[in-house]
Symmetry: C2
Subunit: 584 residues, 2 copies
Amino acid sequence: MAEATLFDEETGGAPSTPARRPRRAKPAGAAEDGCAPGENRRAGRTAEEMASRQREISVAEFFTKNRHLLGFDSPLKALLTAVKEAVDNSLDACEEAAILPEILVELSPVAENRFRMLVEDNGPGIVPEQIGKVFGKLLYGSKFHKLSQTRGQQGIGISAAGMYGQLTTGKPVRVVSRAGKRAKAYEYVLTLDTARNKEEIHSKSEIEWHRPHGTRVEIELEARYQKGLRSVDMYLKQTAIANPHLTLTYVDPGGEKVVYARSTNELPAETVEIKPHPHGVELGRLIAMLKETPSRSLGGFLQEEFVRVGAKVAKDICARAKLSEKAYPTRIAREEAAALHTAIQETKISAPPTTCISPIGEALVLAGLKKEIEADFYCASTRPPAVYRGNPFQVEVGIAYGKPGGVGLELTEEGRIQKRKAAQVTEELVGNADEPIRVLRFANRVPLLHQQAACAITKAVIQTNWKSYGLTQPRGALPIGPCAVLVHIASVWVPFTSESKEAIAGYEEILRELRLGLQECGRKLGTYIRKGKRLQSEYTKRSYIEKYIPHIGLALQEILDLTDQERDATVSTLDDVLQKSRKF
Amino acid sequence: MAEATLFDEETGGAPSTPARRPRRAKPAGAAEDGCAPGENRRAGRTAEEMASRQREISVAEFFTKNRHLLGFDSPLKALLTAVKEAVDNSLDACEEAAILPEILVELSPVAENRFRMLVEDNGPGIVPEQIGKVFGKLLYGSKFHKLSQTRGQQGIGISAAGMYGQLTTGKPVRVVSRAGKRAKAYEYVLTLDTARNKEEIHSKSEIEWHRPHGTRVEIELEARYQKGLRSVDMYLKQTAIANPHLTLTYVDPGGEKVVYARSTNELPAETVEIKPHPHGVELGRLIAMLKETPSRSLGGFLQEEFVRVGAKVAKDICARAKLSEKAYPTRIAREEAAALHTAIQETKISAPPTTCISPIGEALVLAGLKKEIEADFYCASTRPPAVYRGNPFQVEVGIAYGKPGGVGLELTEEGRIQKRKAAQVTEELVGNADEPIRVLRFANRVPLLHQQAACAITKAVIQTNWKSYGLTQPRGALPIGPCAVLVHIASVWVPFTSESKEAIAGYEEILRELRLGLQECGRKLGTYIRKGKRLQSEYTKRSYIEKYIPHIGLALQEILDLTDQERDATVSTLDDVLQKSRKF
């Protein structure tokens, strides 16, 4: 490396005296130091040698090496992620086809650290030509390019689960699907060619299947099964809470079967796909859209490609940008596009329609909480829709409160008779339950179990002042109390912090809505807790009266030499006076 | 939706009585319920309708919509990410070419919320044919497929920065590069076609350039500039600490120039590219390798495709797997491959060579800390290399301690004269400095500024018991004290938690090494702090003696009627006796 040092001293002058703006065509002289790579060094590579090593990376290779980005970092998490991707797809498909979903999830141990996952639905099925791509190609799907509320949005999930299974066990994915009663059922056995990110179909065959329509996917994978806060069991329970229209049958690796029956026969309100809102479109995207549009005039382009732009708004925008409404979109220059972009931002345009999102609704949030969590008090709030970066979204909050020892972890089993102990909600409870509250996070009805600390929902819960609602709260931490807080964000595009979709990114607009929702629901909780505290204090006072008045009666009897009758009358009068002096 | 309900009741039987193993060919009957999609519903789509909407998603479209995954979630972070990607590339290129790096970073405000970033290096340059792909295509590069320690590893970074610039400002990327003195310098102006993930070259021209070799990239982007813990300034300062062989000139948006001069003329030790270690290879990968290998025998395959497999180990593995060494790799069946995989795991194989990683080294960690952080005590430890999933890695820890008001944030300016106040390291200091320690995280010499809480380094610092080293530490939190802890992980493949490479995933092997390194360095700190405490207690005692002995002398003089001489002699004797009675 001694030569490198020499080299350094020779060229040292150039970068240590840079001009404020770099000199593009500095005359020679500085260039005379004469140390082109390839000359004055021992071990280094030349630009040509480096160029020969450059190559394209397949997206499947990328995610194989980075599979922790997709949620496959440990055998424990891999099992959850695989189930989640399959169930999310089943739910999306059923809802898109307007079918009330019935899903079977079955986990069977195959060997040590190896499980077979089977997920079967009564959805619309997949046409045979698409099966290979849907299960054997990353970044392929129907949900990425449209703006509507779906669980999946990336076109990665289920193929990634198959890829992980293949990587860890060498086994292919088995898919059975039937696209309607008049169609045939097919079984496909396939793997993913990672170097080309392309499906490899090992076999396809027509089979008999009892279902008139639906899809079944089987993946064998290296995994670990464990109950607890971040288990498949917990994911399925929470899925049942957030999807009251779902009937879910779950057979765990021990062969135990749980059925979560639906509590409503109504499908979530149908969502409408929307076009992008002008205020959420970046300049670069606008330029690309101008290039690609089939519209033949700028005015038409604005009205056709965006939501909430009518003739008047289009005219306003063009006028503000000093562009003709009749201009050819493809001929708009970059500077003109920039003016158009600025004009759009400055023009008042209605918020996007919110028919594209479907919240769970206060009534069903309450029903879900009551069905699965045993508590003494429930409340829920649904915020009006809001917008971030042009994307509509909506926040819902539900609270279950009051069960000694902390609520939220211990979800009741289906059908369990709930014994409410309303009288027990007292100051003592709040004091005793010394664990942080449970936060149940949902995005587009999907429970989020991992990366709690990194999630905007957790941040918003921490930023909320729970002391004013009767809970204790350490500085910068979750409040303490026997309480579970459910938070749901529904959006046409949920900004997750990673491909594994475990936490929501902290956009300011989203944090704000979350805080407002939590406050709304928190106030209801506060009213309840304060009432509980008042009742408790009443009860204490009353017990004092009941305890001491008779003794006072006896003492008075002795001092004043009263008859037993006179004594009882005095006690009764005293009692009345004291009870009345308390403010009910 | 009423029809959907009907449908549900009719098929309800099927999923509620699933067999332990699903029946693949259940005879009709159950299939007679007759509700194919398309019949019994109002609004749903059929499988055919859905199929028509399926399409491939370009990786560039994916990352445009998910740009927060790449670190471009806010204008503030975008600026840092763009600079980081460019500087990382420059450093990698210089080191690969064995050139002592000299880098210029210049940020110029262009408009409100818009900056021009310029990064220029004296690296080997890029051959013209590659410029388009390197800057205009995601998932393209030379570092992904090789196992060696580099800053970049994904082939995404710099193209993503350009893509973000293009998206937010509509402006193309400008690149100047010259691949050696005898080559010509070219200027390229290009953008990225997101729908196809392909470069679009707007212009290329031969230009005069003062540098004999190097690359300059200019990107205009929407951004916000701010000083502080997560600023470009901080990133560059920390880069200087971890790369003592780098000379870096930084012109900030205000036009202020800072030069970080190199403190060593030695390049980091050259790293050697290695083949994968057999113990880190999953079954699926093994099967793929068997298919792709040019080797014509299993024995040869094992020796040629893996590191640390010689003739004897290859023979052992084959024997254990009950396979012939002469078997054709491409003809190994899946079951045989599984046996091979198990045999590999059971065979003792030496750890991979560690010439593929180059730590900073204790001496240079110390030098870096001393140069940039003003403190009273410094120590550093470099752990021996270790392995996770077949990937060698190495952990280094450095500590700077003791400066009232908290060290770590206030890095000294280059050339600032450091005034040490060793005598001030006392109990008082530890007590007063009531802020958490600063954790400076590095991966392959790159500072990590974001997502501190999600990072394995932070977790390991929290898991370390700092009380035994003289710092206070709240439960489950960072210790408190005037202290900066530098932690560096060098590896051929750093497992980041997201594409933006801000935090390291918590693999158990990595956490373990981190804890050991922190303990090693912590013990040195503990010795120092305890010595400081002892010195302080000595000092207090001495000051008592000096304060009270003369008064005792005066009192004795009065009581015993001593002369001034006798008094002074007595005082001197007393002083001696007391000083001796203290244990030095």
